[in-house]
């Protein structure tokens, strides 16, 4: 009973924290300079990791699927299968999970250390708005950058898949592109990529919440970073199940 009360307290606190984000989102000052800095931190510094992840996913998926499809004489559908799996599911989820590890932990650790070294209090007593400056900018940066990084991951994964197909079966690139993209609907691409904006929101808000409320010292900062990764990743997976269900309702299979 006590555990459930604690969990409900925490859920309520996170909901209130998210509510404050939406409340302050449209209030001045808009902190444009910091937002751009955070988008750079989130985007350009995560790009390499996302590209490597995407490339390896494409190569591995292509290698693993070829044998199985060949057994059923369906090797020709490999580009379509690759495109559908990468764009609709694997690309968005894997990108978000990788970013939950990198950014969720980073945000929680940064804000946590700012809290224990009283930098957040320093913003507060300088009559600045620490929530707006630190939280709103980071969350917004993740909401914008997650979909862009997912697009990059998807493209590199398809390129990796094609490269593997080229080496294995000398598949013509025009045939690969034609087959891959003919199986995709615009609604698939938009919805699957757009949902990573929601994942970005979840990862960032949990990271910010964990870091912003650190009490104590460096040990608590480490715990906050770990909690941000665990809760952020779980929420991404949970939200994905709900979003897939929603997409089936909206667009069919």
């Amino acid at each position: 009973m006590r555990v459930w009360t604690k969990i409900l307290d925490e859920v309520g606190a996170i909901a209130a924290f998210s509510g404050m984000f939406f409340q302050q989102l449209f209030q001045r000052p808009f902190e444009g300079r910091e937002l751009i800095r955070q988008m750079d931190e989130t985007g350009s510094k995560s790009l390499f990791l996302v590209l490597v992840t995407g490339c390896s996913i494409g190569i591995v998926l292509s290698m693993q699927s070829r044998g199985t499809l060949a057994r059923f004489g369906a090797e020709a559908v490999l580009p379509s299968m690759l495109a559908l799996s990468v764009v609709k599911e694997i690309g968005p989820v894997i990108t978000s999970l990788v970013l939950a590890g990198r950014l969720g932990a980073g945000i929680a650790a940064e804000l946590g250390s700012m809290r224990v070294t009283e930098q957040i209090d320093a913003l507060e007593v300088s009559a600045l708005q620490p929530f707006k400056y630190l939280v709103v900018t980071r969350v917004l940066a993740c909401v914008v950058m997650f979909p862009l990084l997912t697009i990059a991951c998807d493209m590199v994964a398809l390129f990796g898949g094609y490269a593997e197909s080229l080496l294995s079966s000398h598949l013509d690139y025009r045939l690969f592109i034609d087959q891959a993209f003919s199986s995709l609907r615009l609604s698939d691409v938009l919805f699957s990529t757009g949902k990573t904006g929601v994942f970005g929101f979840l990862v960032a808000i949990i990271g910010c919440y964990s870091g912003y409320h650190v009490r104590g010292g460096t040990r608590e900062v480490g715990q906050a970073a770990m909690r941000a990764v665990v809760i952020g990743s779980l929420l991404v997976l949970l939200a994905d199940v709900m979003m897939v269900r929603l997409s089936l309702i909206l667009f069919g299979s």
């Binding site: 250390s113 070294t117 209090d121 320093a122 507060e124 007593v125």
Partner: protein, 244 residues
């Protein structure tokens, strides 16, 4: 004859964190232009007391008055307006790690002044020259020594020319030379600008240099008040233990 209003007044302040009672009926009065040293051992509620003065904490009961305004009842915008009149020197400096010294000072300045970039740069140069670190502008906090960090933090605290300066352990962890340097800077502020100062310290050298009055906290209560000499010669065993 009109009564002179104190710059800071705290009346019967109580604060607890859960079961732990931190402040138990503390009252403090600081007149304009004077310096109060709040002394006492670790964990006696000194920092908590200071945080109430700038609205970083809300009292469980009691009243906090600064410049005639009741801090614990101010709305957000009034509290922010009051905070612009108060400089706060944090124990560890609390300089923003990701910014250079110049950016640290400019960050506060550009949001609260309409001055141009060149005017602000000039003001920042003046401030860091005032704390005797004229060449530190391009350095990051991590590149500064403990004493230098405190001096830059002091420059940031006074960049908006506040009426009140609150210092949380301004000399803790510093060598005696740095203690004198920082303490003398606080004294200069009082002499040159008439700033009212409340300094939390258990550093006797610092207290000797800066304090007009002192309050000794023990287990969340103000055990003694008076000049530093009066506290030093006080009969209470806790005072004797503290002052050696």
């Amino acid at each position: 004859m009109t009564e002179i209003q104190p710059e800071i007044e705290i009346r019967n302040l109580h604060k607890a964190f859960g079961e732990r009672k931190i402040l138990q009926g503390v009252s403090v009065c600081v007149s304009r232009g004077s310096t109060l040293a709040v002394m006492g051992g670790s964990g006696t509620g000194k920092s908590v007391l200071l945080k109430h003065m700038v609205g970083l904490m809300a009292p469980d009961s009691g009243e906090v008055w600064v410049q005639g305004k009741r801090v614990d009842q101010l709305d957000r915008s009034s509290l922010n307006a009051l905070r612009l009149r108060i400089g706060y020197l944090f124990q560890g400096g609390a300089l923003f790690d990701s910014m250079t010294v110049e950016e640290n000072l400019d960050f506060v300045l550009r949001r609260h002044s309409t001055r141009s970039h060149s005017e602000r740069t000039e003001q920042i140069q003046e401030a860091i020259a005032w704390v005797n670190l004229p060449h530190a502008a391009a350095q990051y906090p991590a590149e500064l020594s403990g004493g230098q960090k405190k001096r830059i933090a002091l420059a940031r605290a006074i960049i908006l020319r506040p009426d009140i300066l609150l210092c949380d352990e301004p000399t803790t962890g510093l060598d005696p030379v740095s203690v004198r340097t920082v303490s003398n800077l606080i004294m200069r502020l009082k002499a040159e600008r008439g700033i009212t100062t409340v300094a939390i310290t258990h550093d006797l050298l610092c207290a000797e240099i800066i304090a007009d009055q002192a309050t000794f906290l023990y287990r969340g209560k103000a055990l003694a008040e008076g000049t530093l000499d009066e506290l030093r010669t006080g009969a209470h065993p806790q005072l004797r233990e503290f002052f050696g």
